[in-house]
Symmetry: D2
Subunit: 135 residues, 4 copies
Amino acid sequence: MTTTTMLMLETHPAEIGLDRGRLAAAIDALIACAQACTACADACLSESSVAELTKCVRTDLDCADICSTTARVLSRHTGWDAGISRSLLEACATACESCADECERHANMHEHCRICAEACRNCEQACRDLLAATG
Amino acid sequence: MTTTTMLMLETHPAEIGLDRGRLAAAIDALIACAQACTACADACLSESSVAELTKCVRTDLDCADICSTTARVLSRHTGWDAGISRSLLEACATACESCADECERHANMHEHCRICAEACRNCEQACRDLLAATG
Amino acid sequence: MTTTTMLMLETHPAEIGLDRGRLAAAIDALIACAQACTACADACLSESSVAELTKCVRTDLDCADICSTTARVLSRHTGWDAGISRSLLEACATACESCADECERHANMHEHCRICAEACRNCEQACRDLLAATG
Amino acid sequence: MTTTTMLMLETHPAEIGLDRGRLAAAIDALIACAQACTACADACLSESSVAELTKCVRTDLDCADICSTTARVLSRHTGWDAGISRSLLEACATACESCADECERHANMHEHCRICAEACRNCEQACRDLLAATG
């Protein structure tokens, strides 16, 4: 999958003002995080202790939506708008951090929360790296 | 449609710390903006002058994605996270403003851009009102 | 909101082979259903009886995703592909029917499920009407 | 990324009636296809020959939306509904086939269309394999 993201960046006709390797890594981290959060929300729903996991489900759903949207915005380079990208990356890093915090509270009990928290931390870092590189 | 959004808010079992009328108005403005941007992007694609509208298509697509995601996040009240909501509302207001600016540049030529710009301005204002109310 | 959807259809430069009033009604029903399902999933999460509502949450989430995507596809008229639209409308009608059935099982207990079921039935009918009109 | 998808499946508490390897492969193919289509639509917008690529942009956008939604639905196993999954997989295979056909028409001219067509063919096959396995 990383390969496809990078290939699409390399064959894009527009000038891309960012390091393509870093950008591809961020897009892949966003997509992986969105999938993990979607799956973790559903895994929490299937736990017998679901009543204790409702905040986790909700944060997973928010994080999945925000990461998916951020991956799409970062995949576009026609008429690049730094303001949109930067404010969305800030929101996405915030969501990933909140979701990682919430999932970590259940990581000892639920392996899906532990794996999802890792995907969120990885994605948060990728967003912050990209923000630093475009600052 | 406004009716359904408001009914869903009124029957939600969680405590909602925001004015429900203002919140329903924001969700409806976000949804209307997302639809208008999706339609405007496609209408631009069908114009013979599409080559001059590519930035408009791109900004429409970003704005549609961000508004859809923001409408979803604002429709959730379980385990509310003010940090996620606020940073996403900031990003959404930024996207709506950029998209309105871009669409207004073509509003004299293309009626779909004029209508879309109005939906974006309305949505930007609804986001900023909600931010002010939760500040 | 209906107004904006209809205005965007009326100002679209492409030829649209469907009745615009019926199409606008379908798009608005899809969008309203997506919002109701997103809100109902979250309202279920906030119920003390959430453990009995997990299938409802899941079906709500599926239905919200499918309705949102169908609304987007129906908002595009450039290079219309009847095969994609028809197969997606079939899937969407199936999802709406399943979600309405599930929500109706809880409609006596939870008003949000009753309202959501109505939005799903309305949307299912709009999808089937559009399928019949394009058959 | 494949690793995360598979790990999330392996740690899901629900019984999953499908082969997990095949399912993880399908989810990863769907996600890769959605990203490639989003990127290809934008790459087409940046081509000087965009006026000849508008149908490709449109089909890319449809395919991206449908693949993203299908990946989400397949990532959920709580209260599995075979009817929704199967009809959506049919719609997704149809969209991938149409998008691959359209992208292949431009594959000699645009490398991003060639790569995107491959991602679509791969995804179409994964959807059909999953349909055959659940038939």
